[in-house]
Structure formats: C-alpha cells, structure tokens
Symmetry: C2
Subunit: 163 residues, 2 copies
C-alpha cells in the first residue's frame, strides 16, 4: 500500500496536474466485482492477453438476468472502474524520464474518468459468475459494464436512416 500511495501523490518530472472539477456530471452503479490473480500494481500486466489467466466477473444480484444471451459470444467487451487511480494529470511521464505525453494519447489508468476497457475471451458463465481471459486489472476492481465485442455483434433491431 505504501508504494501505491506514494505514486498517487507525487508527480514525476514534467507531469502536470490540474484542479479537478467536481465529479458529478453523471453517476455510476457498480454492477459487480472483478477477481484477478493480481493484488498489487507491480504485478498487474500493462495489457491483458487472450492467453492470460482466467478471471472471474462476479455479477451483483439485480443484474444477473441481464446475462441471458451473452453465452453465444466468444469475445466480450468489459468496462471497469480503476478505483485506485488519480484523475488530475493532463500530462504524464510513463517512463519517469521527463518525457511527457497527453493523457488522451496513453492507455494509462490515470485519466479524468478512470474507466478501463478490455476485449476478453468468454470462457464460460456459471450462475452469477462470468469467466474470461484477457484482463489486466487489479483484484477487486469494480465492474461497470459487459457487452458483446462490436466486431462480432450485429444489431438485432432493423437498420435506421443513418446506417
């Protein structure tokens, strides 16, 4: 915890933080919890791999019926809340070498809305638990959405004017 706490308060050379506006433009509902093998940032991969370990998405009660039909997809998109990330950096130095990049040019967890997105392989669904491969987040990360990967999804409803 000490290392993570330090990272969250100190700036590296060249990094720029702003005074964060209040985070109340919209509110999220956590729909579950993600269980992974990684309990510290140091061991968490930078990017998930589809041949990585199986991780468990525990879906909270009210949302379990929403899993119906998900089993037919091989790849699903997972959205989660990077609850340990600071949100106020506009310029970041990923290597800590003084070279900085804008936050939107990085997939760093540090961003104004720390939402992670991953495309994962669906391994199976067991009741309220969805088993997947390809994640790269800490154990205990709150889940905010699941949907079929856009590449394998065809809308059910008929096309509209803009299609």
């Amino acid at each position: 915890m000490t290392v993570d706490a330090t990272r969250d308060t100190r700036l590296r050379a060249g990094e720029v933080a702003i005074d964060l506006p209040p985070a109340n433009d919209a509110g999220l509902i956590f729909i579950g919890l993600i269980h992974t093998p990684w309990t510290t940032r140091e061991e968490t991969p930078r990017q998930g791999r589809l041949d990585g370990p199986v991780c468990r998405l525990e879906i909270f009660g009210p949302w379990v019926p929403s899993l119906q039909g998900l089993e037919q997809f091989e790849r699903i998109e997972v959205l989660y809340w990077l609850h340990r990330s600071r949100r106020d950096l506009v310029l970041q130095s990923p290597k800590g070498d003084g070279a900085v990049r804008g936050t939107f040019s990085l997939r760093s967890p540090v961003r104004p809305n720390p939402i992670g997105t991953s495309v994962v392989e669906l391994v199976g669904i067991e009741g309220a638990v969805v088993l997947v491969r390809g994640l790269d987040c800490l154990d205990g990360t709150p889940l905010i959405d699941l949907k079929p990967d856009r590449c394998s999804y065809t809308p059910i409803a008929s096309p509209r004017a803009g299609d």
Copy 2:
C-alpha cells in the same frame, strides 16, 4: 421529443425493469461534447462506420493539453455518456416482438451505466477539436474519454511481472 419520451417510459412485451439502485458508486466528469449530424434517435445509425460522416469532439478547456501525442494514432477509442437512455432494463426486446435478451448480450444504449464505446478513425486535431469518423451517437452527447485504440498501442513504460 414526444417519441423519445414515450420510448423512455413504456415497456415492450417481455421487457423487465428493476428498481434502480442510487447511481453514486463513482462520479463522472464530462470532458467535452460530441457534435454529430444526428439530432433524433430515429436517424442515428445503430452502429458507426469508418466511412461515415466526420464528427467533431469538442474538448473542454482544462483537458486540451491532454491531446498532446494523440495525433500519431490512426484509430482512437471514444467513450461517451448516452445521456438520453433509461438504465433500469435487465431484459430487452430490441425488435419489440416479445423475444427478449439480457442487457449485457446487447450493445443497446439502455444499460445500467449507459456508456458508449466506439473505435473511430482520427481525421485531424484542430486546437480543442478532434475530428473523427465512425461514431453513431446523438449530437450533443457528453464525452468522457479518448484513448489510442488498443490494437495500435504499445505501452510506453516497461513491462511488469504480469506481462
């Protein structure tokens, strides 16, 4: 507005709504606004196309420096808040024919956390405005994040134990 308001309150045959828990597990900051050619849901495409019209992402002042470095990517991932969507359906009937599917097996805008994700082609950056092709959202949709598409992104920092 009348048509949209009706859609937002009536259920189709077979659809199931729940009592929504309070949406206060985490709070979002809108970082900009999306300008598209579509002003009603009826004309908005079901899915964006990379050969679709150019849309404008207007970035709010504090976050403009975060665009530095984004210009090098051809494809970027855009996250936005589907502000007109109800959030309480666990089963939905996309065709309105009585056949229902779980919310997580659809890419419908109706979901507990109505966050849209699109991978778009970066056309250009002009000051605080990012020009892209491939969106499928209403004009005026709030923007919540921009990041390089995972397929074309290599982490800047060195690999960690899990990589």
